[in-house]
Each structure stands twice: as C-alpha cells, then as structure tokens.
C-alpha cells in the first residue's frame, strides 16, 4: 500500500481554499507545496466582509450552500477558537414585504438545520439599539465575524508545522504536462527572480477567480465566472451583531461589524478579468442607502474605504449578475476531460473552505490510491502569528 | 524568510534630527534632543571659562567685559531659550510618563512652547537689565 509521504501535491493559489487544502493534505501526511502569486489571501479571500456564515442567507434559495455553511460554522468555532466575534446575527424585516418572507425563511432554516429565534421589535431593539426603529420582526441566527486574513493564516500555519511549504510571491508560468498527464508547474519566484520547475503527482488549481486562467494553461475549461461585488466600510461600530435584511438575497443586504468598523455588502456583477476590477460609484452609494435602511446611522457614517472583490462562482458563461449562480463549490477532476493529475476546486466561500478542502483532498487521495481520512474537523489550528514564526 | 537575509532599512540616528512630515510631538522630541545636546556643550564651555578664575581677577574682568558684548548677549539668549524649553518640555514628559496623555497630545506641546516663550521673554528682560 502506498504511503502518503511518497506523494507531492502542488496547490496553486494561497486563498482560503488553498490554505485549508494545504492543511488537510499535510495532516494526511502528503508532501505539499503551495504557490501564490502575491501575498497569501491577497486575491479574493482577504477582501470579504468577514462574515462567519450561519447559512441563513442561502436557506431559501440555495439550501446546499446553507447546509455547508452551518455545518462549517460549528466546526470552525471548535477548531479556530479566538478567531471570531461570536455575537450572532439578526435577519431584520423592515417592510411589510420583508415580514411576509418570514415563514419561508424560517422553514428554509429549519430544513437546513440553522437554529433560529424569532424576536419582536422591542426585543430586537434591546439587542441592537441602532436598528431602524421601524423594524417589524427579527430572527436571530448564529452568524459571526471573522478576520478574513487570519483564519486562512491559521490553516497555513498548521500546514507549515506539518511540513507543507508555503511560497508567496511565486507565480505559475506554466502547468507542465506530458502525454496528457500534468506533472508539475513552472514558477517564477519574484523574490529571487529565479524560474524553476516544481514536480508534483497532482496539481490542484485553487486560484479562485483566476482558476480559469490556470486551467487554460492545460487546455481545460472551467466554468468559472469572476463575479465582483462592491463592499463599503464605514467608520464606527454601530451594531455588535451581524445585521442581514430579511428578504431574498440582493444588493446591500448585510452589515458586518468588524473591530471598529461596519462593513456593508454587497453588489454583484460578472467580469472576464479578475485583475481589472472597477469600483462603480453608484454601487458605493447604493451600499449607504441600503445599509441605512437597516441601521440608519450606518447610512450617515463617514466612508472609511470602498473596494471590489471577485467571487469565483461556478456557473454558465451566460450568467449576467452572478446572483443566479450558486454559492456552493465544485471540485473538478480533469481526468474526465482527458487530463490526468490535475484537479480544480472553485466556488464556495471562506466559511466553507475547510469542507471544500476535505472534499478536494478526498479526490486527490483517491487519484493517488491513498486511503487516509481527513482529520481537519478535530484538529485545533495554530494561531495566525505562527504563520510568520514557522 | 529569515531576517538575517533582509536589508537593514532603518533611518538610524537620522530619525532623531529629522522631523519632516511628522507630528508636533515628534518636533518636540527632536527639539528636546537638540537642546539637550546644546546644554551639554554649554556646560563644557562653562567649565572651560571657569578655568579663567585660576588666572586671577584681571583675566576674569576681561572675560566679563567680553561677555557683555552684543554677540555674547545673543548667544546667551539662545542658551536661555534652549534651557527653558528643555526644562519645561522635560516637565511635560514627566507628566506624560505618569500616564497623563490627553487625546490630543499636540496641545501639550503648544502649551510648552507658549510657556517657553513667556519665560524666555521674562528672562531676556532680566538679562538686559542686569547688563545695563
């Protein structure tokens, strides 16, 4: 029987997905090298609003994502203690129409296993005095806030401790392929300026919105739509709980308190090149307007920063806004298209990165004929500072 | 990424004399260092002058006459300014060192500068009276 240490896996992409995958594979005993073009988490991962999803947002329309979220939410609390602001979240109904959505929302949450507590207007305002006083009803869910960079750093730190090699500022120039089999990557180390080949038994493409570009290097097509959204941070922490709008997913339907800031998210459109993201002025204005509907003082708070981030959504090329695309993830074994030794993992979200990694590592191990289970549900992660100390 | 390989990028003692682009607290810090060194230099000069006492009253009287020249008066003015600033700012630093940092520390520096100016003007007035 083959030993895990006999195999070397190269992961392309140092976001949450790549980080969790490096951790999972290293824990199973495989040799792992992760390469990332820039600093780790510099692509999409670091830019999200910092929500530890309860899954409530997807409970009605996208139950698969919702189930993943709530399951991972509880696992992350266990394996990454000290990383979250665990103040729960509220879904607030402001209009009659919002209130009419309540039964469907509760039903969806129930079906996905998301714990809920319905709160009256008075109860909601006692928890969050800055809420729009016109709030009609609110639902409490186990949302939380995370530091978007530090959680993946904990995965990477633990991976490094288990022998994984993490190489930021190392860009993939070419995916090496011979007779239909991928056997490594050619990279340029932007610190030393050197080019080198890194050989691998399996190369995993975890490049998020850039995964289409990486897949194109071996001539396979990944149905990935880079779907940017605008986020706005305003000065001041105006709530302690995450505030969501109780209605179907739309623009500006969430406020995530984060340290001394409040983050309002988000919009959604689709682009071809994730390296050229615009920051449309009207989207920024919309965030203030929509955020202000839930928490009026947020709509009037001074702007701290506005930025765009590209989600790596899986879906058909003809998608237009990205809202119709599922937030779940997909793992492609490109052997199905005649390319051996090459796997793409994409879609998903920071909250579900561990689960995505488990599924992907299972695929990798199956390809290598290994039968080692994932242990990432139990192993408590090292602190983020360890990433820099190891 | 071991730091033995990294490039040593620190301003060194230049940071003590270069307050460009910095806040008022930093200017106060630089002034404090400069006046501190100035006072040490003056102390050495002062000891050197006292040596004249050993040469008898005539040498001393001659020195006192020079010391009353306009040039020396200007130098005395500069000395007094440095002395007053260093002293008052030193009191401010002691105050800060007991945790009394206000939200806008720049105000303390402005206060020090104001007091320095007042005391210096009073001191210069007294000095000119004595000389006359």
């Amino acid at each position: 029987m083959a030993k895990p240490a006999n195999f070397h896996v190269v992961i392309v992409g140092g976001g949450a997905t790549g980080a969790a995958l490096a951790h999972d594979l290293a824990l199973r005993g495989l040799r792992v090298t992760l390469v990332e073009r820039g600093e780790v988490t510099s692509g999409t991962t670091g830019r999200h609003h910092g929500l530890l999803h309860s899954g409530g947002r997807y409970a009605v329309k996208d139950p698969e994502s919702a189930r993943e979220c709530i399951e991972e939410n509880f696992i992350l609390r266990k394996i990454a203690p000290g990383s979250f602001e665990l103040n729960d979240g509220l879904f607030v109904a402001i209009t009659e129409e919002d209130e009419a959505y309540l039964p469907r929302f509760l039903e969806g949450c129930e079906a996905c296993g998301i714990p809920t507590q319905v709160l009256s207007r008075e109860e909601a305002l006692r928890l969050e005095p800055n809420l729009n006083p016109q709030v009609r009803v609110a639902v409490r869910v186990p949302d939380g806030t995370m530091d978007a960079m530090r959680l993946p750093l904990r995965f990477l730190a633990t991976a490094k401790k288990n022998g994984a090699v993490v190489r930021p500022y190392t860009e993939v120039l070419e995916v090496l392929k011979r007779n239909g089999t991928v056997y490594g990557v050619r990279v340029r180390d932007h610190v030393t300026g050197r080019e080198e080949d890194i050989h691998a038994d399996v190369v995993v493409n975890a490049a998020g919105p850039w995964s289409g570009k990486i897949a194109a290097m071996v001539g396979v097509d990944v149905p990935i739509r880079p779907s940017p959204g605008v986020l706005v941070a305003v000065e001041g922490r105006w709530t302690n709980m995450v505030i969501n709008r109780l209605h179907p997913a739309g623009d500006g339907d969430i406020i995530v308190p984060q340290r001394g800031l409040s983050i309002i998210g988000t919009t959604s459109w689709v682009v071809d090149d994730p390296d050229a993201l615009d920051l449309p002025e009207d989207h920024v204005r919309l965030m203030f307007e929509k955020g202000g509907e839930m928490v009026p003082v947020v709509g009037k708070a001074p702007l701290w920063a506005a930025w765009s981030a590209a989600r790596p959504l899986v879906g058909p090329r003809q998608a237009e806004t990205g809202r119709e695309l599922s937030r779940t993830f997909k793992c492609f074994d490109h052997a199905d298209e005649g390319v051996e030794g090459f796997v793409t993992i994409t879609g998903g979200k920071a909250t579900t990165a561990r689960g995505m990694a488990e599924v992907t590592a299972d695929v990798v191990c199956r390809k290598l004929g290994l039968d080692v289970p994932s242990r990432t549900r139990e192993v408590v992660l090292l602190p983020h500072t360890a990433y820099y100390r190891l | 990424m071991s730091h033995s390989k990294s490039y040593d990028w620190r301003p060194g003692p230049r940071a003590w004399w270069d307050p460009r682009g910095r806040g008022l607290g930093y200017w106060a810090f630089v002034l404090h260092r400069l006046t501190g060194l100035g006072l040490v230099a003056y102390l050495l000069l002062h000891l050197w002058m006292l040596r004249l006492l050993a040469r008898g009253p005539d040498a001393w009287d001659a020195f006192i006459r020079t010391a009353k020249s306009p040039l020396f008066l200007v130098l005395d003015g500069v000395l007094l300014l440095g002395l007053v600033y260093h002293g008052i700012n030193g009191l401010r630093l002691t105050w800060l060192g007991y945790g009394r940092v206000e939200e806008r520390p720049a105000r303390g520096v402005v206060l020090v500068l104001g007091l320095t100016a007042l005391l210096w003007l009073a001191g210069m007035g007294a000095l000119l009276l004595v000389v006359r």
Partner: protein
C-alpha cells in the same frame, strides 16, 4: 480617467547591495488608492514587484508602507489627496525582504511573547443587552499588527532590541483586560531594559496608528502603572503563588 501621477517605488531584491527607486507614470481613476496604483504597476509594468495586501479596507494590516515619508496603509490613502510625485517605500525598522515586503517575523518575534488574547469585550453600544447565551458582546482587538508604529518610532530607529510600540500596546491591553493571559509576563516584558522606559514619548506611533490603538498612550499608561502600583512585585509569579 483623471489622475495622472508619477510613482517612485523602492525596489530591492536579495543580493542587491542597495535598493533603487523606479519610476512609473500612471493614469488612474478618481477612486484609486495608492494600493490600487501599486497593483496596477505590478499588473502592467513590473510583474516582479512584491507587496503585501489582503483586505483593501484597513482591516488586515498588510499594506503598511511609507508614502511620501509618512507611514500609512496604502489601501486607505487616496491618490487624489497626494501631490503629483509620490514616493513609496517599505516600512522602517523591520528589515526589507523584497521591494515593499518587510520582515514580519521580526515584528512577531517581539509581539507574540506578550501573549495578548485576540478577542476583547466590545465597548461599543454599552446600552445594548446581549441575547441570552452570550454573556457580553465581544470583538477582535483593535491592533491589526501592521507595523506602522514601529516604523514611525525614533527609538526603534536606533535600538534594534526595543520592544516597540505595538508589543507594548499589546502588553497594556493584557493589563487592562487580562482575560486568561499572564499579566506578570506582559509587565515583566514592559519593565525590561528594552521595554517601556526606552520610549521618548514622541507619540508618533499614536499619530500613525490606523485603528486608534494609540500605542504611545498605552506606553505612558504602562509607565504610570509600573510607577504607581508596585505592579511587578505583586503580579510576579511568586506573588501569584502566595
């Protein structure tokens, strides 16, 4: 496109005897930040330009650098607020690994031993009542470990062993709100020869801090605590045992 700016960017790679500055002229949209400009320089002109960035809103603390001689998070500095020529350099006092990337291990070497827990009691909205099951609202500590304060500090400029404003501010947080951290350990570090007594209270660290930690204020508070409370003696391990 409306903003034309000339960027002088510090470049350094291992093996070079000294850094050099390269100049890039950019046409930027109105909303562009210095970080956006640097990302475009990397995309369009210098693919080997290394820099750190992640969150783009001053929350991760990776894009700290010296912009026209002053420490800032590049993602929070709007290009339109700057003059036509913009000089970008790495942070001082940590050592440069490559271009704008400084040696963060050097930062954490001093920061980590303080042992500050990351989650604190939220001080916002004191009138808010937390829901059942949550004893009190919490939030992440304000310090984002960006290193701006260490770069702006004139003492760190000459004393390599100085604990530095970030670590001392973290020590003060341990004293202020110990949670399960070892207070005596934080105080012993602060009271060491390279601790809070080295500070000369220029308070530039408080000026450049992007998240309101105000390390200079914290250092002054530490000194006062050590001066007035016999803190080290009572908080020492022996004191704890007795």
């Amino acid at each position: 496109m409306g903003l034309k700016r000339v960027f002088r960017v510090f470049r350094y790679k291992p093996g070079w005897s000294r850094p050099r500055y390269e100049t890039y002229t950019l046409d930027l949209p109105e909303w562009a930040t210095v970080l956006e400009a640097l990302m475009r320089i990397r995309r369009d002109h210098a693919p080997d330009l290394t820099l750190r960035h992640s969150c783009l809103h001053g929350s991760c603390g990776t894009c700290g650098m010296r912009i026209n001689g002053r420490e800032a998070l590049a993602c929070l500095v709007k290009v339109q607020d700057l003059p036509e020529r913009i000089t970008v350099e790495p942070l001082y006092n940590l050592g440069v690994v490559s271009d704008l990337v400084v040696d963060m291990p050097a930062f954490y070497e001093k920061f980590e031993p303080v042992g500050r827990p990351l989650i604190r009691r939220s001080e916002y909205l004191p009138q808010a009542v937390p829901p059942e099951g949550i004893p009190h609202f919490t939030r992440l500590e304000s310090c984002i470990e960006c290193g701006l304060c260490v770069s702006a500090c004139p003492v760190a400029a000459t004393d390599e062993a100085y604990l530095g404003p970030a670590a001392l501010a973290a020590a003060w947080r341990v004293v202020e709100e110990p949670r399960d951290a070892r207070v005596w350990q934080a105080l012993a570090l602060a009271d060491s020869p390279h601790g809070c007594w080295r500070c000369h209270l220029a308070l530039e660290c408080s000026e450049v801090c992007p998240t309101g930690v105000k390390p200079g204020h914290a250092i002054a508070a530490l000194r006062a605590y050590l001066l007035t409370s016999q803190a080290v003696r009572t908080a020492s391990p022996m004191g704890e045992a007795s």
